[in-house]
């Protein structure tokens, strides 16, 4: 693919990604967003800033995501400074727009810059800074060997196996976490929701979350400081969460206990001090 074609492809991909992010369905949003955040702007900026032949393929591969992230950081500051706000649309326009501008700039640079091969040759010959190693322009480490497409695919095949094994490790871990957190946390909470009325009763919202059907039916009691139970309710556990507003004495310390079926000791307890 020549350079013009690759730039056009990159531009189309950037616009497509922005469109997917703004208007696309779920999976396309994710794919478009990841491309815009991690790859496309960086590739375009690499094309703009450094001459193609002065960086190796490995360097380009790393510069792509690095410059994309750099644009996110510095571009985000610019968005904030201009008051545009950091929203999905502003991110998408920033990243896709910069990609397009960089590609256009790279095309202009190429058109009006000296021949790159000449630049490489000059650079390789050194620039007089011999103490630092002769002005290396392209890859070091000896000639890179290549193989035909068939052999390349055959050799790369174990990478598929590696990806599958890593995927298996991830699945195993998710399943392991899910099993280790299978039991819900049953919690009792209380919150005053208003002031005491003329009858000296104050409204309190009592909430029980994480109810387990096997432990039900639960029982909730409300008692004063003398220990006398003023209210005793059975709780429906099917919904998993139970909330009621109760009226309790304002001039007494209140104890609210939650019991599991068949247990005499409270399972959860909250305490409310006397109203001020």
């Amino acid at each position: 693919m020549n350079r013009l074609a690759s730039r056009l492809a990159l531009a189309v991909l950037a616009l497509g990604s922005a469109a997917a992010v703004l208007y696309g369905p779920g999976p396309l949003v994710v794919a478009g967003g990841l491309l815009l955040a991690f790859l496309l702007p960086g590739l375009a900026l690499t094309d703009l800033i450094v001459r193609r032949r002065t960086v190796t393929g490995v360097e380009r591969a790393v510069l792509g995501p690095a410059l994309s992230l750099a644009l996110v950081v510095l571009g985000g500051l610019a968005l904030h400074a201009t008051g545009a706000g950091l929203t999905r649309a502003s991110w998408a326009w920033l990243l896709a727009g910069t990609t397009l501008v960089a590609l256009v700039g790279a095309a202009f640079r190429q058109r009006f810059s000296p021949d790159e091969a000449k630049v490489v040759a000059e650079s390789a010959a050194g620039t007089g800074d011999t103490p630092l190693g002769g002005g290396v322009a392209v890859a070091t480490g000896g000639p890179e060997t290549t193989v035909g497409p068939g052999r390349f695919l055959l050799k790369a095949l174990p990478l598929v196996l590696a990806a599958a094994v890593l995927g298996g490790a991830a699945w195993l871990s998710f399943d392991s976490v899910r099993q280790s957190t299978a039991t819900p946390v049953t919690a009792l909470s209380v919150e005053e929701t208003g002031r005491a009325g003329v009858n000296n009763l104050r409204p309190v919202a009592v909430t029980v979350t994480g109810l387990v059907e096997a432990s039900g039916p639960y029982r909730l009691t409300v008692a004063g400081s003398d220990g006398v139970v003023a209210e005793d309710r059975t709780i429906d556990v099917t919904a998993g969460t139970w909330t009621r507003t109760l009226l309790v004495p304002a001039n007494d310390r209140i104890r609210i206990d939650l019991y599991r079926a068949g247990e005499a000791a409270p399972f959860r307890t909250t305490l409310l001090r006397r109203a001020v």
Partner: protein, 645 residues
């Protein structure tokens, strides 16, 4: 004996002279490239388009390495179920992940840069997976939770620099949060999923940047790859530097700045200087300490160049000066509060040094007890690094009369800083933390030096004269020795790095165990707090971490004295009032376990001195406080609303 970064030939008779590949008698070890690269012709490029790089055995090696990740996943599963075999499987998995890659990079049959690069990136991915599957569904480390909040605030407000009570200094270094918010906004993923993705990509970019930087310094692909492999044994590589923390976002840009500086110094032109300024700016916006270390790194490179290179070019100083200007401008105009934040631990170190000089007790660091085997493994690793350093130092010294390789000498100087930095860990309470943080940066030069030495140990350096090549058996022995050294370094990093040994495996709740303290009980309690945000919350380390992030409360980190004693005293009441505590977090499990990390609380007056759990009566006293409500109870965590509102 001959050492060269590229395949080279020895002097007849096996003299001790070091040989440059391009010069038969060049007498010293160097990072410089052997031959200047040639421009590629159009025909060559066309031919290359239809061919792929030779990946050698990298895919097969990485498949084997992935099996190691599966073993680690099995170990984590066993850890969650408290099965006895978990730790053995864990260590086996770690070795299987790491050692095949190290061995392959030490092989003489490495196909080239593509194979080395694929190997190190594959290793980085596999190791990141082993980090991720520790807690695949949520952040558990306190600092990650703090950055989760910072990112969430950007998502909610669409603005930067919103106050983050969980980690105030991070507000003025929003680089990571911007990345996370951008990915979350663009993809619709949750902040947690976006954060895990950003951390993973940043981690990979860092490794890639390290690879290309070392390669640009003139090293072969094998040495560049081995540098990344050795760096993977840094104390904080696997967790702190891969977590969703602002340092993770800054590190790749530090390395890219060094790369750009190298390109600029070697005739790359103003474009690379400009790129360096941009990456310096990103580093600065992302993380304060990394920005300071970047100035230090560029200063080290510049000073070394001025010291050893002839003719002397003062323009080398422009790099560190430009970095200083960028960092100083950001701190002056945006992040002035960071000076106070960072000076506190440094002041504590200075105080400790002062006390030691005065022969007074400086106090022990509040850390969990370290077992003898941990010290032994770490000590052996340090010893191995010292020996590898001496190997290269000797070679460099032998060739000191020759034109000097600036970056090799800079790497040696940086390695000295690494060894000195290890001494900081013994300086008071902040010592271990500062030493660990320092090693993130100083481990780069020692990794380069160790990689150079390892290829020598392994005999990877190919001889030009077949007759003098090491015999196959001898080479295999050398390769195994090199792999064993690298694996020893890895074991030292896992034993002394993060998580601590008590938390190497996920599992049931541990009191003050950082990741191991975050479970459903504590997360549910914190989420309950979020319904009434913005109040002052006191609690243990985990309670404050979760309550200030998921719970959106203002953390109080000085509440430890309130938990002491079975009676709520007037002093307690006064302290609670002075600290304006609205909510108090009480995890009853503190009464069943001593703190795994040595301290239940931040600013714990009994840090490092807990020999038994907090008495249950001390935690039950809050029920008898007349002015407090127990407003939440989930069995493990109780939350009291104090009468200070």
């Amino acid at each position: 004996m001959v050492i060269a970064i590229r395949p080279a030939s020895p002097q007849p008779g096996g003299s001790d002279t070091i040989t440059l590949p391009a010069q038969k008698t060049a007498p010293h070890v160097t990072l410089r490239p052997a031959t200047p690269p040639q421009p590629e012709s159009r025909a060559d490029r066309l031919r290359r388009m239809f061919r792929g790089p030779d990946l050698g055995l990298a895919p097969a090696v990485l498949a084997l390495s992935a099996v190691g990740a599966l073993l680690v996943a099995l170990a984590y599963d066993a850890g969650r179920d408290q099965r006895g075999s978990a730790m053995v499987i864990y260590w086996l998995g770690q070795v299987v992940v790491f050692s095949p890659v190290a061995a392959r990079l030490l092989s003489r049959r490495l196909a080239g840069a593509a194979e080395a690069f694929v190997l190190v990136m594959g290793l980085a991915i596999t190791q990141y997976v082993t980090k991720w599957i520790y807690s695949p569904d949520q952040f558990r480390f306190p600092d990650e939770l703090q950055h989760w909040l910072g990112t969430t605030l950007i998502m909610e407000t669409g603005r930067l620099f919103e106050p983050n009570p969980a980690l105030p200094p991070a507000v003025n270094f929003p680089g990571l949060a911007e990345m996370g918010a951008a990915v979350s906004s663009l993809t619709g993923l949750s902040v947690t999923a976006a954060g895990l993705t950003v951390a993973g990509i940043a981690h990979l970019v860092f490794v890639g940047a390290l690879f290309v930087t070392v390669q640009r310094a003139g090293a072969t692909a094998a040495v560049a790859g081995l540098t990344c492999v050795v760096y993977a044994t840094a104390l904080h590589y696997l967790f702190f530097n891969s977590m969703y923390l602002y340092q993770t976002a800054a590190l790749p840009f530090l390395m890219f700045t060094v790369w750009a500086y190298r390109r600029w110094r070697t005739g790359g032109g103003w474009r690379f200087a400009l790129l360096g300024v941009v990456t310096t700016a990103v580093t600065t916006v992302a993380h304060h300490v990394t920005a300071f270390m970047l100035i230090g790194t560029l200063a080290l490179l510049a000073v070394t160049e001025l010291a050893v290179a002839k003719p002397r070019r003062w323009s080398a100083l422009l790099g560190p000066l430009a970095a200083f200007a960028v960092v100083a401008a950001w701190i002056w105009f945006v992040a002035r509060d960071v000076i106070g934040y960072l000076s506190a631990p440094v002041d504590r170190i200075a105080e400790t040094v002062h006390l030691l000089m005065a022969d007074k007790d400086a106090g022990a660091a509040p850390v969990a007890s370290v077992q003898l085997w941990q010290l032994a493994v770490q000590g052996l690793g340090l010893l191995a690094l010292g020996l590898l350093f001496l190997v290269i130092l000797k070679s460099a010294w032998t060739g000191r009369k020759q034109p000097k390789d600036v970056w090799l000498w800079a790497a040696l100087a940086g390695s000295v800083v690494f060894f000195l930095g290890n001494g900081v860990r013994f300086l008071g309470a902040s010592g271990p933390e500062i030493a660990g943080r320092l090693s993130t940066f100083t481990y780069v030069p020692i990794s380069i030096v160790a990689a150079l030495a390892l290829v020598r140990v392994a005999g990877t350096v190919r001889e030009r004269t077949p007759a003098t090549e090491p015999a196959g058996r001898r080479f295999v022995a050398g390769m195994l020795a090199g792999t064993a050294i690298a694996t020893l370094l890895l074991a030292g990093a896992r034993a002394g790095g993060w998580p601590p040994v008590y938390g190497l495996l996920p599992g049931p709740y541990l009191a003050a165990g950082f990741e191991r303290s975050v479970d459903d009980s504590s997360v549910t309690a914190a989420q309950w707090l979020a319904a009434d945000p913005g109040h002052r919350l006191g609690g243990d380390i985990t309670g404050v971490a979760l309550g200030s992030t998921y719970g959106r409360q203002d953390p109080v980190r000085e509440a430890a004295p309130l938990y002491e004693g079975p009676v709520w005293t007037p002093q307690d009441r006064q302290l609670a009032a002075d600290l304006a505590i609205d909510y108090l977090w009480v995890d009853r499990r503190m009464a069943t376990q001593v703190p795994a990390s040595g301290a239940y609380f931040e600013n714990d007056p009994k840090a490092g001195r807990w020999t038994s759990p907090i008495p249950a009566a001390d935690l039950a006293k809050f029920d008898r406080v007349e002015t407090a409500d127990r407003v939440y109870d989930n069995g493990n965590v109780r939350i009291y609303r104090m009468g200070n509102r």
